[in-house]
Symmetry: C2
């Protein structure tokens, strides 16, 4: 892995726009990114790694505000490791809940579909476990 990356490279890698990248920085999700003498951003390997995590967390609907809190813990130093882990673990729990909720709703919708089609509602139910 190279030691620095241009905005264009990073944007492409995570399928983000340059605007979004700058927006995340403005919002405090990343520390102030390094600059080339020209003023252009130079992302370090650890910026890129953090962005990977941010991408995962955003893709699973963590709000920007919580990501900012996480970033603040990161910048506060190593002694916040426990709190950071806590944020991530809570997120995983919420994700479990969210997935369960989606499945429950999916099952309910499937009932409507079956009913629509004329199946007597509880014969041949959609096998929920096999839909993942």
């Amino acid at each position: 892995m190279r030691d620095h990356f241009t905005p264009g490279e990073v944007a492409e890698r995570f399928d983000l726009t340059l605007d979004t990248l700058r927006y995340y920085e403005r919002e405090g999700l990343l520390r102030r990114v390094d600059r080339a003498p020209s003023g252009h951003r130079r992302y370090r390997a650890d910026d890129v790694e953090l962005l990977g995590l941010i991408r995962c967390l955003r893709d699973t609907d963590m709000p920007i505000a919580r990501l900012r809190e996480f970033a603040e813990l990161l910048q506060a130093g190593d002694h916040t490791g426990h709190d950071r882990l806590d944020v991530l673990r809570r997120h995983q729990d919420r994700l479990d809940q969210r997935i369960a909720e989606l499945r429950a709703n999916q099952a309910a919708i499937q009932h409507k579909i079956d009913h629509y089609v004329g199946v007597p509602a509880d014969s041949a139910p959609r096998p929920v476990e096999e839909t993942s």
Copy 2:
């Protein structure tokens, strides 16, 4: 089931606000709801049933615009049954995809957590299938 319901009753039943209920009507998710002589809304049993479906679909992130299309099909008459089913089935497919995506991201986050804790990344991986 009674033959009509007040706004308050319906709102409580689906945990929606009166504002949201009116908003859905304005947006064409429901047909124009019946009125009492006083001008107050009276929801029929089939309005309530449709709202149940709407709730499921919204809770699984179907956008208002697609719900409106669905409602338009409903109002266009029985011959749209096929199209309506199609909308619902496509939604189920998207939901399958979304759930898979959430799980993949969850697994990636778990890797970060494990790495954080010092587990050598692929010993004792989080048992994804048991998290549902």
